[in-house]
């Protein structure tokens, strides 16, 4: 993907390339400015924050605000909860979704097209409608107010995209490579794990980022399905009304950072796999 787009931009004439840069800068600013402002606010002393106008530059840096937020009741645990839910969701949706994506990519089976459509149908049910039945079901299963309940719902939400993204990832891995592995002594599973899987890793990483961020941000199901074991967004949301401004900024920052860190670490799989893009 990356090589294709750079190859095209190299061929572009200079004015068009400028357009591309302007667009890239605009999009980056659109995303970065709010993050920046929240970060500044999160590290500004409470007194300054409550004044007006609010500082646009980090005039007075202090960790008081963040410390106050992180030490307030339930926050630490909810961060851990969110991480756990995100990881469980990531593992479950990959374990379930990647084989389905692989099947979609490699095999021409009966009902393949309808399957592809049906997968998306899970997203057609508004979760608000499912909230009550889900709550009842999870109570019956003794899963209510556990991280598993939230993770299961997040997995259901993430699966369609996981399946479709992994399908497109596996389509991009040439069948020849797996066949070559078969002729060199691999079983079909061996060919998958030794050849298709490593080559698909960048794409799978992209799918998992998507899944993790989806789970990290998801708030509705988390609020409904938990009482004590809140995830961070649920915790922040429920505390939002009766908390000071500083808490909101710190909470917002705390919500953004882990997702950014996760993407930062997994980013190299996206752009730079084995030194070159898989061809």
């Amino acid at each position: 993907m990356a090589t294709a787009s750079t190859a095209i931009s190299h061929r572009r004439s200079p004015p068009k390339r400028w357009n591309l840069y302007v667009a890239a800068v605009a999009i980056s600013l659109f995303i970065l400015i709010p993050i920046y402002l929240i970060a500044v606010a999160a590290f500004t002393p409470r007194a300054v924050l409550n004044g007006f106008p609010k500082p646009l530059l980090p005039v007075a840096v202090s960790t008081d605000t963040m410390q106050a937020f992180l030490s307030s009741r339930g926050v630490g645990q909810s961060v851990v909860n969110s991480l756990l839910v995100g990881i469980i969701t990531l593992v479950l949706s990959t374990v379930l979704g990647a084989p389905a994506g692989y099947a979609l990519a490699r095999f021409a089976f009966r009902g393949r097209d309808s399957f592809q459509l049906l997968i998306l149908m899970t997203r057609a049910f508004p979760i608000a409608i499912l909230a009550v039945p889900l709550t009842v079901t999870f109570i019956n299963w003794n899963l209510y107010d556990t991280l598993w309940a939230v993770a299961l719902v997040h997995t259901a939400l993430a699966l369609p995209t996981t399946v479709l993204i992994t399908a497109s990832v596996f389509v991009a891995v040439p069948v020849d490579l797996e066949e070559a592995a078969l002729t060199l002594g691999c079983t079909p599973i061996g060919a998958f794990t030794r050849v298709a899987m490593p080559l698909a890793l960048p794409g799978l990483a992209a799918a998992s980022i998507f899944t993790f961020v989806l789970s990290w941000n998801e708030v509705f199901a988390s609020v409904i399905l938990t009482v004590q074991n809140r995830t961070l967004p649920a915790q922040v949301l429920t505390q939002l009304d009766n908390s000071p401004l500083a808490y909101k900024f710190a909470g917002g920052f705390a919500l953004i950072v882990p997702a950014l860190i996760f993407i930062f670490f997994i980013r190299r799989y996206l752009f730079n796999m084995w030194g070159r893009i898989v061809r």
């Binding site: 070559a180 060199l184 002594g185 084995w274 030194g275």
Partner: protein, 363 residues
């Protein structure tokens, strides 16, 4: 010993209209280099993939050595395959690519290193062992693919158009190298190509395929010289074999083939068919600009085009309205629009039934 016996193999792809391979029977002798040659879609690759175990036949049997491998997966067949697309693993170094199959067999590290280095040496890959495929040229990647196959010391080496992705010069060079290499490793080889020059230059024998069937299996020069059908004659050779349509009739213990107002003598058996094709290669026609003494069996032709091709002239002429290609020496002085006389070398004339294009006896 790894002779390959293919017995009555047929295969239709699911959803395919016609069968890809129809009732093919072929035996490849131990250490023989067999080329499957045919136009695209003739079933040659399907046949190869069934030998590899990447496809399974609907009916028939495949025996490699003494084992019936018809139902076996690729890894249990003792084969190695070189793919058209190279299929070199991009996430492994050249060394690990070549070592892949040996690692699957859990060979000791020392043996892996020794065998990888030896086959890398055969293909001049030693300087690149630690590189990744993306850092290699197309030709080098193809070398890796070949090294990866021969390092397995397979009973049967399968190659699917291995040269077709290389540029012309590299192809020429690698073709000779491949021929030398395969001669050295002494393994039974089945090689698929649509390039008749490759087939002629590499094969111990050539199996010409068309529409899922094998039409002729013979040594390259025989296929070239005595095509079993009009298709084989026109598919192999550049320019293709000339075919002139004529009427045959018995004449005094021989046969006479009338081409328009002219005629040539033929063996008596040719008169079996009323309508015949006279096949003759461009280089087996001797052209002259003056009428020969009568009775020499020459055909008069109109010169249409003269193309100097460096080593020779390619003359396009018409005999009674039928186009003929002739190869002449470069000093042959002829102008388009003039008449020339073409004398076929008698032992190079081939006779075929016009009705179905099959060769007649006695030719």
């Amino acid at each position: 010993m790894s002779e390959i016996r293919i017995e009555g193999i047929s295969k239709t792809y699911p959803g395919g209209k016609a069968s890809a391979v129809t009732d093919v029977t072929l035996t490849v002798a131990d250490t023989e280099f067999m080329v499957l040659l045919g136009p695209s879609g003739c079933g040659k690759t399907t046949l190869l993939r069934m030998l590899a175990g990447l496809e399974y036949p609907d009916s028939g049997r495949i025996v490699i050595g003494d084992r019936d491998v018809t139902e076996l997966p690729p890894r249990k067949r003792g084969i190695a395959m070189v793919f058209q697309s190279y299929a070199v693993f991009p996430h492994l170094t050249v060394f690990e690519n070549i070592a892949f199959g040996l690692r699957m067999q859990k060979r000791p590290a020392e043996e892996v290193r020794r065998r990888v280095e030896s086959s890398a040496g055969l293909l001049q890959l030693e300087p690149y062992l630690l590189r990744y495929p993306a850092q290699l040229s197309g030709g080098q990647r193809q070398r890796v693919a070949v090294a990866r196959a021969i390092v397995m010391e397979p009973a049967v080496l399968l190659m699917d158009e291995p040269l077709s992705n290389l540029d012309a010069l590299l192809r020429l060079q690698f073709r000779a190298e491949l021929k030398k290499l395969v001669g050295e490793v002494h393994t039974t080889t089945v090689y698929v190509t649509h390039d008749q020059v490759e087939a002629l230059s590499l094969g111990d024998r050539i199996a010409v395929m068309r529409e899922g069937r094998i039409i002729q299996v013979a040594e390259p020069m025989l296929v070239y010289d005595r095509p079993a059908t009009e298709f084989v004659g026109s598919f192999i050779g550049n320019p293709p074999m000339n075919f002139l349509r004529g009427h045959a009739h018995a004449d005094n213990g021989l046969a006479n083939v009338a081409i328009g107002t002219q005629s040539i003598k033929a063996p008596a058996s040719v008169a079996e068919a009323a309508e015949v094709l006279v096949g003759i290669r461009a280089e087996n026609l001797q052209a002259s600009t003056s009428a020969p003494p009568n009775g020499s069996g020459s055909l008069r032709a109109e010169t249409l085009v003269v193309e100097p091709l460096g080593s020779h002239l390619l003359v396009t002429a018409a005999v009674e309205g039928q186009v003929v290609k002739v190869v002449t020496r470069t000093d042959f002085a002829v102008q388009p629009g003039t008449s020339i006389w073409l004398r076929p070398e008698p032992d190079k004339l081939r006779w075929l039934r016009a009705a179905d294009g099959t060769a007649l006896g006695g030719s």
